[in-house]
Each structure stands twice: as C-alpha cells, then as structure tokens.
Assembly symmetry: C2
Homo-oligomer: 335 residues x 2
C-alpha cells in the first residue's frame, strides 16, 4: 500500500540495460540510437510506466513552459459573457502545439488585486495574457513593471501602459454597421450602446457617430445597455419612447440586439420593415432570432489566437507591436 516512488530515467536505464543518456535520447526522439536499443528502452518505459518528471526537465532546459491567463473578473458582466469562453478557447487552441501550459488566474479587481499582483510577481509563469475588457485595475501596471512578457486582449482603456495588445477594430465595426443602415435608406438612426467604461463600447459608439456624421444625420439617439439581454430590452424601450420616428438602430451586442428586436416587434414595429436593426458579435446564440440578425463579426477566438502568437514572439525575445484586427458585416435579415 506504500506509494512507491515513481520510476526515473535511471530505473528505465537499468531495466533496458543501457545508460541514462540513451533513455533520454529515446524519450526525446533523438534519431541517433540503434533500433535494438530503442526498442529495449521503449519496452522498459511501458513496463515501468515511466513518465518524465516535468520539473526536472524544466530545470535543465530553461525554456518557458507556462503562461498565465489573467481574467480580471471585475463584475457580473464578464461572468456571463460568452466571449470570455470563446477567448479561452482561442488561447487554448493557439497554445495547443506548444509545450506551454495555460494557467488560469481569476481575480476580481480591487478585492484581489494585491493577491493577483503578488502571484504574478511570484514568477509562476513565463508570460501572461490578460483579458482586459475593463477599466484599468492595477494589474496591467503591475505587469508592465514586473517585466513579465505580456499581451493584452482588448485595448486597455486609459493610458497606454506600453504593453502590446490585440484588439478588433470596434470603431470600424460600428461604422460598418451604421453605414449599412444608412445605405438602406434609414434617416433616423439610434443606437443601443454598451457600458460606458468599456473601450469596446466606446469605440463602437464612436464608429456609429462617424458614420452618421459622414452621412449628415443626427447622432443624438443614444441609450446604454449592459450587454445583457434584459439590459438591451430596457434600453430599446427607452430609445423608442424618446424617438418614435426611429427607422434604424445599431445595437452594440447580439444579446441586446435579439432582445431589442423582440421589443420592437412587441411595440408593433416590423423588423426590418419599419425599423432595421444591426447587432454586434455574430454570436451563435443570438443567431437563433427570426429573422436572423444582421450583425458584425467579432471573433474573440481569433483575437485570442493572435495573442498567443504575439506572446510566443515575446518569449522568443523578439519585440512585437499591437495589432488591430479587421471586422466585417455579417448578412442577416434584420437590416
């Protein structure tokens, strides 16, 4: 019943009748080992159930082996955000072919910042990817100070910390969405924007303004939602109450857009007949609406994947610069 020591290279070597070095070569697929020796080793490995000790290996080859994925779980919003999961998947896929492990670090800014910072300083990982949908929470400044190779997903709000980021072009996304409404002939275009403290919301709103400005239309019909379904419904209701002549609306998230569409229909407006709607995210869940939402692609997984590429560059000692990925409109039936 004693938990017997795990077999080591030494044990395998003894069993196979070769030296440690040879076993190491076989395990690491070094070609210059005679076939007979290789087989003997392989047999010994399986017989003993040998598994290389990760720590020992990491100790000697000083290569990076793990990256922290920091999710500053600031509030309930992030929490229910499917995009977070999508990004995690993107990172996971981007790291798939590398020996890098993805160490998840959750923490609520404010409450956990100290702990988080201490942990990051602890040198547990060789790099970090920060999902920063939010206002600066102290973590980013800590990271840039520590000097840990870091990539931010989503342009950090507030002053630049000098950390490279990947982001999607939310300004252009908002513009494309609104351009579509304009091109359709809408003259009175409102927007259900996202939370004011998120860079993505602000950018989409800016894009909406730019498009309207270029078209010479008014840009005063704005209501903010919290990116949730219910928030979208309420914002749409307020928007409609304040501007009864609305014939087009850009809603800054699909979840909100789906709710907005049903709110409009409940109010007796045909979509897109009376009011055209463009959403944002191209999220699968919100594509169940009838008619299917016209929306803007917002591939969080691609962004995340890009972040892993950048981080690997950093780990290799090469400098990287921030990237802003293009978005595009996804055709649907609501605009």
């Amino acid at each position: 019943m004693s938990t017997r020591r795990a077999p080591t290279l030494e044990d395998v070597a003894a069993r196979a009748g070769v030296s440690r070095a040879t076993v190491s070569r076989v395990v690491n697929a070094d070609p210059r080992v005679r076939a007979t020796a290789r087989e003997a080793v392989s047999r010994a490995v399986t017989e003993l159930g040998y598994r290389p000790n990760r720590a020992a290996r990491a100790l000697v080859k000083r290569a990076p082996d793990s990256v922290a994925v920091v999710v500053p779980e600031t509030d309930q919003r992030v929490f229910s955000d499917p995009v977070i999961m999508e990004m995690l998947r993107g990172i996971s896929e981007g790291l798939e072919e590398t020996p890098l492990q993805m160490v998840l670090v959750l923490g609520r800014a404010g409450r956990d910042t100290d702990r988080l910072e201490r942990w990051l300083r602890g040198g547990h990982t060789d790099g970090a990817i920060v999902l920063s949908a939010h206002l600066d929470d102290g973590v980013t400044s800590a990271l840039s100070e520590i000097g840990l190779p870091t990539v931010m997903i989503g342009r950090p709000p507030g002053p630049e910390q000098g950390l490279p980021f990947v982001d999607l072009d939310n300004v252009d996304g908002g513009r494309q969405a609104t351009d579509r409404l304009v091109a359709r002939g809408c003259r009175r275009i409102g927007t259900v924007a996202g939370p004011v403290d998120m860079a993505a919301s602000r950018d989409r709103l800016a894009g909406w303004r730019e498009s309207l400005g270029a078209a010479g239309l008014a840009d005063d019909a704005v209501e903010h939602g919290d990116f949730s379904s219910e928030g979208g419904r309420l914002a749409m209701r307020r928007l409609l109450a304040a501007h009864r002549d609305l014939d087009g609306v850009f809603v800054a998230s699909d979840l909100m857009a789906a709710a907005a569409v049903s709110e409009l229909q409940a109010a007796g407006r045909a979509v897109p007949g009376d009011v055209a709607v463009v959403g944002y995210d191209d999220s699968p869940a919100a594509q169940l609406t009838v008619p299917r939402l016209t929306t803007v692609a917002n591939p969080g997984d691609r962004m995340a994947r890009e972040a892993t590429v950048m981080l690997r560059e950093l780990l290799a000692g090469r400098p990287v610069s921030s990237r802003v990925l293009p978005t595009h409109l996804v055709e649907g039936g609501t605009a």
Copy 2:
C-alpha cells in the same frame, strides 16, 4: 542587451554574505533566522530582483503543484453557460491558499478526445477536476484508467467510472420547487425541463415528478428547452398552447424562466396571479426580472470549491467519497 541570467539563490547568498541555506530559509519564511540576517537577505533579494525557480523547487520537494481543470467543451451550450465561469471561480478560490496552480484544459469531446487523453497521460499535472455537465466523452474513463487523482463536478451521466464527484441535489431541488407550487394551491403544474442528455436536467425533472406524484397531480405537461433564453421562451409557448389550464410552471433554469415569465405576460397571464413560476439557479442575471424570480439555489462555486477540497484529500493520499450538496428555495415574487 544580452538576456543576462536570472539571479539564483547563490547570487543572493553571495550578496547578503550568508549561505544558500540561509537565503532559502528567509525565502521560505523559516522563523529561525536572526533578524539582521533576514534583513540582509531581503535587501539582496529586492536589489537583485531574485525570484525562486519554480522548477528547481518542484524538483526537490516532490509535492503536487498543479491541477488540470478539464472543461469538455462539448457544444455551444456550455460555451455560453455562466455557470462554467462560476465554477472556474470556485476552483480558483478553493486553490487560492494552496500552492496548486490551475491549469485550464479545454477540449471538445470527440474532436479533441485523443489529444486530451494524451495530454492527461503526459503527467503534466498532479490531479484533475472535470467539469462534466455532459454525457461521457471518453475523458473520464481515460482518467480513471490513468489513475490520476480526479474529482468530477456534476454527477457523470452513464455508468459510474469509480471517480468521486460532487453534485448538487437536483432531484431535491426540483422537488422543492414543485412542492412550493403545490403548497401555493396550483393544481395544473407543468415544467420547462432542460436538455435530456444532461444529468442535472433529468434529476430536476425527476424531482418535479416525485412532487406531483406525492400530491396526486398529473405529470404530463413537459416541454424541453436548451437552457437558453430563447429556448425557454419557445418551450413556454408550446407548453401554454398544449395546456391552457396551467396554473404553475417549474422552469429548470433562470435564463429560461425569465423568458417564460415574459412569454406568459405577453400571453396575458399574470405572474404569479394566473400562473406561478419557479426557476432554477438563483443566477444574478436572471434576478433582474420583475417580479423577482422565485428560484432554487444552485451554487456552482460552492460545488467547485468542494471539489478542490476533495481533490486535496486525494492528493494527500486519503480516500474520498462522492458528495451531494443540499439546495434550497430562494424566495421571490413569482410563486
């Protein structure tokens, strides 16, 4: 510009004028070091920016240092499930005070099972926690075969693999919800159940049946939804069409319940006046409804936290048995 070697214990020792052992003691907060020595070391540590090498440390103290958190991302459903995030947070919190790192492993069953299994066999971590909201995907059997200390969150559907699990008492939850409707005087009670392939849905449905059976009421008003808002709305619509005399509904998730409430209201039924509704999850997002949902607590974070406790027992070599945590009704205004 050469990437100079990171400072080691040796360097710190030299700078502080003590031995490696003393530095090690200071770093590890060993009390038996004279204050003066301790200060000298601390100073040297900060001056040099010394950070202990995790690999070396792990090599010598053969203590477990990381656990895999396997999220079998089977389909879109999990993806948008806020409960997953809640569980991740619970695990994160449960591991907070331990040296264990949380290594996230995402993988879609089927497509990624091989890769996942290979990875798990690779011995990258010392244990695993599996978020198993789904039908068996091969990962669990692999884990029980490998012998890696593992705890499942959510009772695995299908045959027991001998792996310990934590779960919430969904049968009792369904029963409590329905008992409430019965106690309120409802005589014609339907349910919007969850997906048929999930243990949690099946258990809640079973609880609903038990309660109705005990009360001598019919249990034929059943519709299934996919746990999404839209799915709940549609299921409610079908349920109402099939059973116009409904005076009570147990909806197996808050997201669906919120949609069901608005669907009922749209159909001209007062809630809870004409039809009483009980949801499930006590999710913050779905608590925004007016009136506030009467629902069943479903603390994923507590379950996850319990899983970390169990895993730590396993890692310490002690046997553990599965646990089913109690749930309770949360008062609201819809029943």
